[in-house]
Point group: C2
Chain length 431, copies 2
């Protein structure tokens, strides 16, 4: 069979990893794909940079969109990144030119996934994005194919390795967020500008993609409720342990009576939950289906090796002729997202207050909760320091987010409450 | 597109589950498969039994092989079971007749998988078997497609839910094997004749299949070293906890200098290992690849729902036209198994002896180990009871199985050793 020609845009660590893997594993991959796979064209910013790759006989393009349009290739692989600009233009050009696309670009898909899926369908092509979610873990394939017989009720998981590393380190060392973040940056586990990871945007991109895939809906990134981990304190971590929980940044998509919830925020989860012991830079995704029950997929969520592994798996699928609807169901048939409003979320809550230690404070807080019909589950006030500021921790039974928001606004106005109250949602993770 | 016709052999709980799923989820499945999927023929032992299924318009065959040959179907689904007999004859007949086969039959594949793969290839068909390993967990798809870019160095996991349930119960209740097994039988978690599960055969079938798939070799079920869990005592479980381990029945396939090890036996694994907290009837499989690193797949390993989920996923793949080599690489290209001899296995060991409590006994045991160059790591002798039988537990540093076998033979002959020594292999599970 004729070789499959690949045009590769982006030669950073992942792009170079894909190039090397296709070269070093050529024989095995040809056997698995039923035909040889060849990189026929590449594009990157700087032609002169030595990447340790032998580009002899490979066409060079300075412009990725031009390569997507003009290269003599079957597949266009986009490893440039960015939600707009050249990455988007090049993917569109490739689909327009009748080429399949493989991308690791979660931002692009979270913003433009539905439209790209439609474009792919119109041109009879497809778009592979295994590498865009949870690195090397084949969760896209699992949801699109392996669990195809299931009605999915929930998908959730640890989708950002940087946050998980920071939270793990905070727990293990007892050190505060800022110090641990600085260390993570020094070690290369966090970017110089860490906002994208620690504010939850990256996890939200991935969650929006998983939601579309698992529930057969259009992508609704703007509907994802997003909170990052900046406000998780060393105190919260200690209290969580004491209460039998562990704090994780989760992305959660779940069918509810009000629509599909999509939310990314720090969660307190039971220490016995499978996700609780997923530590450090690892990712894990749980999918709950009506036939299969609960399934868990775990592995490295980032890095050149895992990401290249996923990109090449997509390329091999395309070489075999596997051409599936981008989000499992035909793009025209994707249901509107119908994302549930966050105010309708219901669950138990953890609250941490800093209050002046004097009689009546807890009574005032309790009254604020009572007036919103919120039932307290536990209260911890450690130590005594009359007249000084002390932390008080409360947990509640299940309540609606809107009621909690109103109660927190009132609590904040109490004279004895000296800091904005901190709230972390408790997730039992029991389906 | 024309509907895909399915001939379904076996209407037990799984077969009935598949039938119901294809009927109840028809619209979604048609959308995902790009064409309707219809059960056009069924076969089972007893036509008169009421299974709660509406078989109107579905052809009935008393003989599965006849159905495989003659039914007007594209796919033959084998849910009869058994490594020979009608299941095998019917699968062969279906492939001969140019039909694809989907099966949940691990025994059949472990015994005849290589030959069936060759037959499928000769007739231009394929054989799907996602349901044969780890129930609803899409591990076959992950190894064949999702991790296709990787050179796999090891695959291991908890492959038998019955054994895992029994070991979990023994640990949680402190009760002995026989009692827990009887309970498991009463609850339906173990068969009336439990040998197949508790002696490790079922796990060995699955391991042999995973090995072929992950390493691109012919199936070598006879090469799998198999030990079950009958000899795991309540004492072993207590000592394991004390030593920081948990006892699990694992199936392990690993590349070594002597070939690919394939072994199923009780293991002591670190309590911090991901597999240690996979409890009850759950299964979990770990795959280690050179690009992706360590990946873990977890879910229900048995039951009508999970198994039907996997069978239907295979059917949807075939409906889409996905037709891959049975064991990822073309059958003609599968390497000989080259299974490593168990005597060449190297690792640390746990030994439990029952000895007469008198001076010099440990010295005799230590000498037997020393003479085989086996280095002791720890020794526990609880309590004192001079002149009576007491348990003594030893752990060793890494040593070769052959040396351990010789040392155990000598220890058994010592006058103060009053029972056959028990040995459990320690697995660090660090790659």
């Amino acid at each position: 069979m004729a070789p499959l020609g690949v045009a590769l845009a982006g030669l950073g660590t992942v792009g170079a990893g894909v190039f090397a893997l296709l070269r070093d594993r050529a024989e095995t991959l040809a056997e698995r794909a039923g035909r040889p796979i060849r990189v026929v064209a590449v594009s990157a910013r700087d032609r002169t940079r030595d990447r340790g790759l032998d580009l002899d006989g490979v066409a060079w393009f300075d412009d990725a969109a031009e390569m997507a349009r003009d290269a003599d290739a079957d597949i266009f692989v986009e490893l440039i990144g960015g939600e707009d600009g050249i990455a988007k233009a090049a993917c569109e050009a490739a689909l327009d030119a009748g080429r399949d696309v493989v991308t690791a670009n979660k931002a692009l898909l979270a913003r433009h996934g539905t439209r790209l899926a439609r474009l792919a369908e119109e041109t009879g092509r497809t778009l592979g994005f295994e590498a865009a979610v949870a690195g090397g873990i084949p969760i896209v394939k699992a949801l699109r194919e392996g669990l195809a017989a299931n009605r999915i009720s929930a998908i959730y998981g640890i989708l950002n390795g940087t946050c998980n590393y920071i939270l793990t380190q905070m727990r293990e060392t007892g050190r505060p967020f800022d110090e641990v973040l600085a260390d993570a940056q020094a070690l290369g586990y966090a970017e110089a500008d860490p906002a994208f990871d620690i504010d939850g945007i990256d996890a939200a991109h991935k969650l929006a993609i998983l939601t579309a895939l698992g529930f057969g809906t259009e992508i609704d990134f703007d509907g994802v409720h997003v909170e990052g981990i900046r406000h998780v304190s060393a105190d919260d971590i200690v209290f969580a342990e004491e209460l039998g929980y562990r704090i994780k940044l989760l992305g959660i998509a779940r069918r509810t009576a009000h629509g599909i919830e999509q939310r990314v925020h720090p969660c307190m989860i039971p220490q016995a939950a499978p996700l609780a012991r997923v530590e450090g830079v690892f990712n894990a995704v749980v999918a709950e289906g009506d036939s299969v029950g609960t399934t868990v997929f775990e592995g490295r969520g980032a890095g050149a090796g895992p990401t290249a592994s996923a990109v090449v798996a997509d390329i091999v699928d395309l070489a075999r002729g596997l051409r599936l609807p981008v989000f499992a169901a035909p793009a025209a048939g994707l249901a509107p997202a119908g994302t549930a409003a966050m105010e309708r979320h219901a669950g138990p809550y953890y609250l941490r207050l800093v209050v002046v230690d004097r009689p009546g404070v807890i009574a005032d807080v309790a009254a604020a909760l009572r007036d919103e019909q919120i039932s307290m589950e536990s209260m911890i006030q450690r130590g005594r320091a009359p007249g000084e500021a002390v932390p008080v921790v409360l947990t509640t039974h299940e309540t609606e987010e809107a009621a909690m928001t109103r109660a927190l606004a009132r609590i904040e106005t109490l004279g004895s409450v000296v800091q904005a109250p901190r709230m972390i949602r408790i997730e039992s993770l029991v389906s």
